[in-house]
Amino acid sequence: MKRREALRTISIGAGIAVSGVTFSALVSSCQNEPDWLPDFLSLEESQVVDLLLESMLPKTETPGASELGLVRIIDNAVNKLYKAKDQTDFKGGLNEILKRFKSENDLSETDTLKKEHIDKMTAKYFNLPEIERKRLGDLIYTDREEVSDNDMPEYLFAKAMNNLRDLGIGSYFEHETIQTEFLNYDPIPTRWDGCIPVSNVGNTWSI
């Protein structure tokens, strides 16, 4: 199966069960002629990132993260734009994310990973009680050197989740398809009107 098709099966629209695949099976299923290989992420990580992004930015009347291939953009961004130590942390964070999937869903290495497992985790993370959220917020802005060994897994996890979401939102709304087909694309406005009814415009201007 081609990699793109693999991704498509995993990330079809909300409500439909995802074809069951194990972490390792995912990798092997793509071994014959994958049409894209990540540069920075492992194949397994890239698949998890893709699922996570789709869960954060799912397909509705507008495209979802998977069909836009955001994982490719993010793989490139982390590879090219991150400092080495942030790259290491990002990898560490993905590792924590994987661990949590498995432990929170009682999955073993060979169990299948379903879309609902992922949704459950993102929902949990993004709907934390206020006090928890504040604690994590403070933690991820702590100086890296000052994070205790105890807090480190949590730190890496939360930082990776936030980075993924930020990169996801950015690359989603700055994607050509979204900018030109779904937002208001107006590369040469020719005029400036400072105060008009929003109903004349509708969606946000893309640029």
Partner: protein, 573 residues
């Protein structure tokens, strides 16, 4: 353009060093008045339109989708990146690489030297805000006993402001303010709905305070008067170069005018290294140049020299121009050369959220903001007196947020995503630009080290002093006060890190004055002791006021060029 080639002469009436905002003006004025002029720039040639390669690119068409490349930034732009915005991939090619053009900062001090070396200089990337200085600005030093008195007054420059405004094309609104004189403006741009609201609140709640739309060098009307330049299309991609010539740059405006006279010879890749001096005649004889590509040196002769390499390089060239007469640098009898570095201190102000305009929006991308002119220490209003000298103005804007607001919220999922397609809440913010006092101890000097071309590397000693630090407190408080008075929500004051230079209005190192003992230049921008050398870039400034300075540099340049040509004709130079 009339580009230099092997058949070009080695001798000219005039040489202009630099083709940025001031060099472009010097080139235009001198050539239009009939002088055969060699125009030098150390950078590569940049063709109008043809070399604006990124002008129409969208995010997804840019390298790394227009994001910073950490490795490149760390290696090539460790200092240029301090602005955060100037080193973006879409226009980084119009700024120097620190790796090629290094400079030093003395311990515990910081100087942000943000520059572009190419034909057109920083005229290609400037913010285009253009304000006249007012009578009080030229009188301030004398009145406060700070630095030295300006040798000119507002009335000396008034007609020259009008002259350059008409040619540059400046959009703005006349407000009849003493501290911000009216000008020859093209149609003003609109406020957004919330900006209009703030303006009304300020005039209601703060007696004597004004808010106006930014005065900016964009063509918004009377397009036919601008020699083929087009009107602004409101794309706000100006720093990449404008294919329409909608904003003022040397490429769009002054260099074509100079070219059209047939009197200009332009030589890119030409590093002015030294101004040559004849001790008998007590005049400069021309400019020594290093070819940036071949590293060969050439001596070009001329009757007059205009220094327009921008404040630091011009000062550096004068420092290098040593002779028996001038062992410490040309024109440096006063020992002031390199001292009194000023800028505008900013990155302090306030922001807020605005409710009640959810049904309003705007069309286009206005390359401009609003302006709140100075309202502190106005000489005619004792009620405006503060515990520091001088004052500040604010530049700001009020717009609706986009999807980036999603980053701050902890949302996710279908509803969250779909909501981000809609225009977000309105935010409004203002950033103060404050006057920096001239201080002898803010200075630059040459080190023993040299760069790739054998030019001395500059070391800076600059920091904010008490007056500026006191002013900053007020800049934040007054901004908070105005946003609160307007009833806005979540008003937040801020004071972000700033180092002298970050305002990119560096100036003052070869100041004008009445007395050769305390200044480098006279009231016509001539070096007191070498009258055929004119300095009309930021180096000439005696104080900094708080308005963006380039319009004043342009007016001074046009005035000085007029003087130079008249003096030359009279045989005085």
């Amino acid at each position: 353009m009339g580009l230099f080639d092997e058949n070009s002469p080695m001798e000219y009436d005039a040489i202009v060093i630099g083709t940025g905002i001031t060099g472009g003006w010097a080139a235009k004025e001198l050539t239009e008045k009939g002088l055969k002029t060699l125009v030098l720039d150390r950078g590569r040639n940049v063709q109008h339109v043809g070399d604006y390669k990124t002008a129409n690119l969208d995010k997804w068409e840019l390298p790394n989708r227009g994001s910073f490349d950490e490795e490149v930034l760390a290696k090539d732009y460790p200092k240029q990146r301090r602005t955060e915005y100037t080193v973006r991939p879409e226009h980084a090619h119009f700024f120097v690489k620190d790796s090629e053009h290094p400079y030093e900062e003395s311990e515990d001090t910081r100087f942000d030297w943000i520059r572009g070396y190419q034909v057109g200089g920083r005229s290609l990337v400037w913010g285009r805000q253009s304000y006249r200085w007012s009578p009080m600005d030229f009188e301030a030093n004398a009145k406060d006993g700070v630095g030295i008195d300006w040798p000119i007054r507002y009335k000396d420059l008034e007609s020259w402001y009008g002259y350059v405004e008409s040619y540059v094309g400046i959009s703005g609104r006349n407000e009849g303010l003493k501290q911000l004189p009216d000008g020859n403006f093209l149609d003003p741009m609109d406020f957004t709905c919330v900006e209009e609201d703030l303006k009304n609140s300020i005039s209601k709640n703060f007696n004597g305070r004004a808010m106006t739309i930014g005065r900016t060098a964009h063509i918004t009307s009377n397009q036919e008067k601008f020699n083929g330049r087009g009107s602004c299309q409101f794309r706000n991609r100006c720093m990449r170069g404008c294919p329409y010539g909608g904003y003022f740059s040397s490429q769009a405006s002054t260099l074509p005018a100079a070219e059209a006279t047939g009197n200009m010879t332009l030589r890119p890749n030409s590093i002015a290294y030294e101004i040559m001096y004849d001790e008998n005649k007590q005049r400069a004889t021309g400019v020594r140049v290093i070819d940036a590509e071949t590293k060969k040196t050439y001596d070009f002769k001329s009757k007059i020299v205009f220094c327009n390499a921008s404040a630091v390089p011009t000062t550096s060239i004068l420092m290098q121009s040593k002779s028996n007469r001038f062992p410490n640098g040309m024109g440096n009898d006063s020992e002031q050369l390199g001292h009194n570095i000023m800028d505008h201190h900013f990155q302090v102000g306030a922001s807020a959220d605005v409710e009640g305009f959810e049904d309003k929006y705007y069309k286009g991308r206005r390359p401009n903001g609003f302006y709140i002119p100075r309202f502190r220490n106005l000489p005619w209003d004792s009620g405006t007196k503060k515990n520091y000298l001088r004052g500040f103005g604010y530049q700001g804007g009020g717009f609706r947020s986009k999807w980036w607001r999603g980053v701050a919220e902890m949302g996710h999922g279908a509803e969250f995503k779909d909501e981000l397609f809609k225009p977000g809440p309105w935010n409004i913010g203002m950033n103060g630009f404050g006057e920096v006092l001239p201080d002898y101890d803010n200075y630059m000097e040459h080190t023993d080290k040299t760069d790739e071309w054998g030019l001395p590397i500059v070391n800076f000693h600059t920091k904010l002093r008490e007056n500026e630090l006191e002013m900053r407190k007020d800049m934040q408080e007054a901004a908070v006060e105005m946003l609160e008075a307007a009833g806005y929500k979540n008003v937040r004051g801020w004071d972000n890190s700033y180092g002298i230079g970050l305002g990119i209005h560096e100036m003052g190192m070869a100041r004008m004055g009445r007395d050769p003992k305390t200044s480098v230049l006279n009231k016509w921008n001539q070096i007191h002791s070498v009258p055929n050398v004119y300095v009309t870039d930021g180096a000439c400034m005696t104080s900094s006021a708080c308005q963006n300075p380039s319009l004043t540099y342009m007016a001074l340049t046009a005035r000085a060029a007029d003087h130079a040509v008249k003096q030359l004709k009279k045989g005085n130079l």
